[in-house]
Each structure stands twice: as structure tokens, then as C-alpha cells.
């Protein structure tokens, strides 16, 4: 089985996000980027499948600030191949990313394409279904617990309230992974450095299309006008007393 795992960089949400002077985009200058955490789960699920029943795992990332780090880390964790896709801005909308990833994934002949169910910057839809449409494959989102079953996979799709549905999907299929069945593994920096010196990234030249819609405004939400800030545990205790909790 061959598993392709497209990885996307997103702003580190711990950072302060600044809107650019245009008022319609993020100011990426100096903004720390990181791997989308759902993609980290998708990679983990792919590696677990590889360990359980054998698979070739190919990680892909769009050339950008975090691409090398994301790809070498994926190799250090156990991915077999890493492909850096150029020709599109790594911070572009998902329509453009899906087009570039689809161009790179198509020739791989992957049986399974696993990517994060969502990311912090999915303004124009999630990557998994957009990618599936480009590849002409079925897609299931919000997936956990992927199990190979011959030429198909058994998977769970999560709904709200703890309800899940079990599906069987023929390969090839694109899955938007919600969570791997275990916490994503950690690759020590020393191991990543070692891989960086010994392994090579493959390059793929793609192109992204134009965004299907334009941003006209980007701004922080109106700050919790209703939120009264407390300064001490005593003040918090007073609130709990007022609400009859204590």
C-alpha cells in the first residue's frame, strides 16, 4: 500500500496574528509557521498503518518557510519519501494548494491519501475534499481509526455528541483525519538533523490556480465586551459565591 500525506503549514496560533496593512491578509512577516496539527495526526495514522501492515509513506509539502522542517521531520519519524512541491505560495488558499498537491500526488498512484481534517486557515474549504475532487476520488472527513481490509479500508467518521459511523471505503480514497489512534510521535531534533544530512527531498514543480473568491476584510472579532476581567483568585471566588457555586 502506498500512502500519500500532504502536509500544510499554518500560523502558530500561540503567536499574535497581525493583519497586513491591506486589511485583507495576514502579515506573514516574522510570523512563526508550523505544521497543521491535524496533518501531524494524519502522518501518525499513516506511520501506524505502515508499522501494522506495511506501506510506503510519502510526505508532501508546498515549498515555503516550514517545508524543509516538516518534510525532514516526517522522514525522521518514518516516512519513506518526501516531496517538496513548488509553484504555489505555501500560504495560498486551499483551492490552490489542492491543485498543486493533486498534480504531485496523481502520478504517485497512492492507495490512500491522508491529510488533516481541517486547518486554521481553511477559508475556502478543507483540503481533503478539495483534493479528492481534483483527483476524482471519494472522500470521507472527520475520520479516526483506519484499518486496512484488502482493497478497502474500514474507518470511523465522527459526528457530534460522541456518535460515530463506520464506513468501508474502496481504495484509492482521500481521508480527512481527525485524530490518530495514538498521540503523534516525537522526532528528536538530533534525529531530524541527521536525516537532513543523509536524506534528500524530491522536487515537484506544480502550479496553483487563482483563488475563487476574494477576501474583503480581515479583523479580530469584537473583543469579549461581556467579559469582565478578574485580577485575583479572591475575585474569582466572589463570582463563584455570587453564582451560588460555593
Amino acid at each position: 500500500m502506498k500512502i500519500a500525506v500532504p502536509l500544510k503549514q499554518v500560523p502558530d496560533l500561540v503567536e499574535d496574528l497581525e493583519v497586513a496593512a491591506s486589511g485583507t491578509a495576514l502579515d506573514f512577516d516574522g510570523l512563526k509557521m508550523k505544521l497543521n496539527e491535524f496533518d501531524e495526526h494524519a502522518l501518525e495514522e499513516a506511520l501506524l498503518l505502515k508499522e501494522a501492515s506495511g506501506a510506503e509513506v510519502v510526505a508532501l509539502a508546498i515549498a515555503g518557510a516550514e517545508a524543509d522542517r516538516m518534510l525532514f521531520t516526517a522522514l525522521a519519524k518514518g516516512a519513506d519519501k518526501a516531496v517538496k512541491v513548488s509553484g504555489v505560495d505555501a500560504n495560498a488558499d486551499n483551492h490552490a494548494l489542492a491543485q498543486a498537491f493533486a498534480a504531485a500526488i496523481g502520478p504517485l498512484g497512492a492507495d490512500l491519501i491522508l491529510t488533516g481534517v481541517q486547518s486554521a486557515s481553511d477559508r475556502d474549504g478543507q483540503l481533503a475534499p478539495l483534493l479528492a475532487a481534483r483527483l476524482g476520488l471519494p472522500c470521507v472527513s472527520v475520520v479516526t481509526g483506519v484499518q486496512p481490509q484488502g482493497k478497502a479500508v474500514l474507518l470511523k467518521k465522527e459526528y457530534s455528541g460522541g456518535v460515530m459511523a463506520e464506513f468501508e471505503a474502496d481504495l484509492p480514497v482521500v481521508l480527512g483525519i481527525q485524530a490518530a489512534r495514538q498521540t503523534p510521535r516525537y522526532a528528536p531534533v538530533s534525529k531530524v538533523r541527521q536525516v537532513q544530512q543523509s536524506a534528500k527531498l524530491e522536487d515537484f514543480a506544480a502550479s496553483g490556480g487563482a483563488a475563487p473568491s476574494q477576501v474583503v476584510k480581515m479583523a479580530p472579532p469584537p473583543r469579549g465586551q461581556g467579559c469582565k476581567m478578574l485580577k485575583s483568585a479572591d475575585e474569582l471566588l466572589a463570582v463563584l459565591k455570587e453564582k451560588g457555586v460555593v
Binding site: 478539495l130 472522500c139 470511523k156 465522527e158 455528541g161 480514497v173 473568491s213 472579532p221 469579549g224 453564582k243
Partner: protein, 314 residues
């Protein structure tokens, strides 16, 4: 003169709240576009059609009652071809994720995800998306339509989308099922040791708790308050607490009298599950954490300092 098509969502034999919330959004929007509200019901029942009175018309597609992305996505595309709506509203939900992007890609329509609001202004459809973990609101110009908006649950009143009446219904042909994705079964949650939906007070913990051993600190405070411990998704994914303790989109929706959120940043998926709480008190080290947008009381502090101080005083 554009119609608004609402994709009705149902699970386990009942229409989901998001369906009525979208009908409420659609009624307002149809007023602006001078069109009517049309609902699409795939694999529903006659009883469900009767509950969609807020729509002028219900398009039905006969199918199995259980959602299947490989069947519902083409059914939606057929309905859009037939109804030619100006705006398609899909839930920003597990099911909606399999529909909205697929429709946008198949019919080359502009799409905005995670929408809190959609309006028609000067012939243009403007959609506001909640992005970057709720830290930014982004408004997209989706053009004159047709276009797609995935609506976040909790931004319209479900009651406002409930209306009696018997909307006209029109059956559309069911798309052929390529059979590549097969529904097997629904898995309902197991009965939990603690029912977090039945608690008056919840002490909810998030990533800020740091490690499993430290959950004891929150448990001690909960005990002193006569409360139960709930958690956001990362805590459940790490296996530190059972799934039945999860508050949020894929967990449970809770409405306690008091919700004390400790070290929870307030990702939209979490807020969806607890914004209905009577009083929300949030403690977080990040003064810009989105949790403070929904909290009634906030405190920028280390959660352990607060827990220890409170537990000592109780």
C-alpha cells in the same frame, strides 16, 4: 431574485439543530436576495419534511437514512443543478465537510467555510468566516452567486428556523451509487460514569493542563466545588480522560450554570459545545485567547495558581 438552498442534516432519524439554524439564516438572507428558501432532504422521512415549514419548498432525494458522503455529495450537486440557488447553505459539520467543498469543486463555485454570517449587499454575497482558531474574522466576497457557505453551528436561533406548515415537496432522482464508500453501522456513545450534561458546575480543562498527572489539581478543585471535570479535545485525544468527558463539536454540548474553563484557548470547535453555559469563567495565560470572547468573567493567569488558591480557600 435568488433562492437560498439549505442542505438539511439529520442523524439517527432526527433533523439536527443546524438544519433549523440554517433555515433561520436563510430566511434573513432570502429577504435580502428577494428569493425563497428551499430545503434539500436526502434520505429523510415525510415527518422530517413536515418539520421544514420554514422553507417554501423541500426537494427530496430517496436514499438510505444514514449519511454517506459518496451518495449525498452527488445528490446535492443534482439538486443545485435543478434548483439554481443563489446561495447554498451547508452545515460546518462533519457531514457538511463532505458536501460543501465537493460541491464547490464539482460546480466551480466560490465557497466560504466556518461562516458565522452571510449577507447579500449590492448584489454580492458576503460571507464571514471564523478562522485561525477563532482569532480572526475574515469576510469573503463570493460574487453574485451561485456560491456555497458552510455555516457554523450556534450563530442563529434554531427556534427561528422552526415553523409549522406543509411546504411543497418535489422529489429529485437519486444519483447512481458508485458503491465505493459503504455505510456499515452507527456507533452510539457508551454510557458514561459521569454525565457532564447533567452537571450544574463543570471544571473544564484544556491543553494548558500540560500533563496527565496534573489533572488531579483540577479534580481536587472540582471536588471542592461539587463539580465534575470535563475537557477539550486534546485531553481526550491524548487518552487522559474518557471521550464522555469531551465538550465540543465532536463531543457533547453542555449547558451548566457555571463553566470554569482552565487552560482552554477556546477553539471554535470547543466553543460550539459550551457557549450556552449560564456563566463562563475562563482562566488562561494568553490574554488574546478566543475563550475570552465568550466568557463572562476572565482571568489572565496560570491555571495551577488559580486552582491552588481556590482549593485552599474552599
Amino acid at each position: 431574485m435568488g433562492d437560498i438552498l439549505v442542505v438539511a442534516e439529520h442523524l439517527n432519524g432526527a433533523l439536527a439543530d443546524i438544519t433549523f439554524e440554517m433555515l433561520a439564516h436563510a430566511k434573513t438572507l432570502a429577504g435580502q436576495t428577494q428569493g425563497q428558501v428551499v430545503a434539500l432532504l436526502v434520505g429523510g422521512s415525510g415527518e422530517m419534511t413536515g418539520q421544514l415549514g420554514a422553507a417554501a419548498k423541500v426537494l427530496t432525494v430517496a436514499a438510505d437514512g444514514n449519511f454517506n458522503p459518496a451518495l449525498h455529495a452527488p445528490a446535492l450537486q443534482t439538486a443545485v443543478d435543478a434548483a439554481k440557488p443563489q446561495v447554498v447553505l451547508v452545515g460546518s459539520t462533519s457531514m457538511g465537510m463532505d458536501l460543501a467543498s465537493a460541491l464547490a469543486a464539482a460546480r466551480n463555485l466560490p465557497l466560504a467555510a466556518y461562516c458565522t454570517q452571510v449577507t447579500a449587499q449590492g448584489g454580492k454575497i458576503l460571507a464571514t468566516s471564523q478562522l485561525y482558531g477563532g482569532k480572526l474574522l475574515v469576510t469573503s466576497d463570493l460574487g453574485a452567486g451561485p456560491c456555497v457557505a458552510a455555516m457554523l453551528p450556534g450563530y442563529a436561533s434554531a427556534d427561528a428556523g422552526k415553523a409549522a406548515g406543509s411546504p411543497a415537496s418535489e422529489a429529485l432522482p437519486a444519483p447512481a451509487d458508485p458503491g465505493k464508500v459503504r455505510f456499515k453501522r452507527l456507533i452510539l456513545p457508551e454510557k458514561a460514569d459521569v454525565d457532564i450534561q447533567a452537571q450544574d458546575v463543570l471544571v473544564a480543562i484544556g491543553r494548558g493542563i500540560g500533563k496527565k498527572e496534573d489533572i488531579a489539581v483540577a479534580e481536587e478543585l472540582a471536588k471542592a466545588l461539587g463539580a465534575a471535570v470535563a475537557a477539550s479535545r486534546p485531553i481526550i485525544d491524548a487518552g487522559w480522560l474518557p471521550k464522555a468527558r469531551q465538550v465540543g463539536k465532536s463531543g457533547l454540548k453542555v449547558k451548566p450554570k457555571v463553566y470554569l474553563a482552565l487552560g482552554i484557548s477556546g477553539a471554535p470547535e470547543h466553543i460550539e459545545g459550551m457557549k450556552g453555559a449560564g456563566t463562563i469563567i475562563a482562566v488562561n495565560t494568553d490574554k488574546n485567547a478566543p475563550i475570552f470572547d465568550v466568557a463572562h468573567y476572565g482571568m489572565v493567569s496560570d491555571l495551577f495558581d488559580v486552582c491552588e488558591a481556590l482549593t485552599d480557600k474552599l
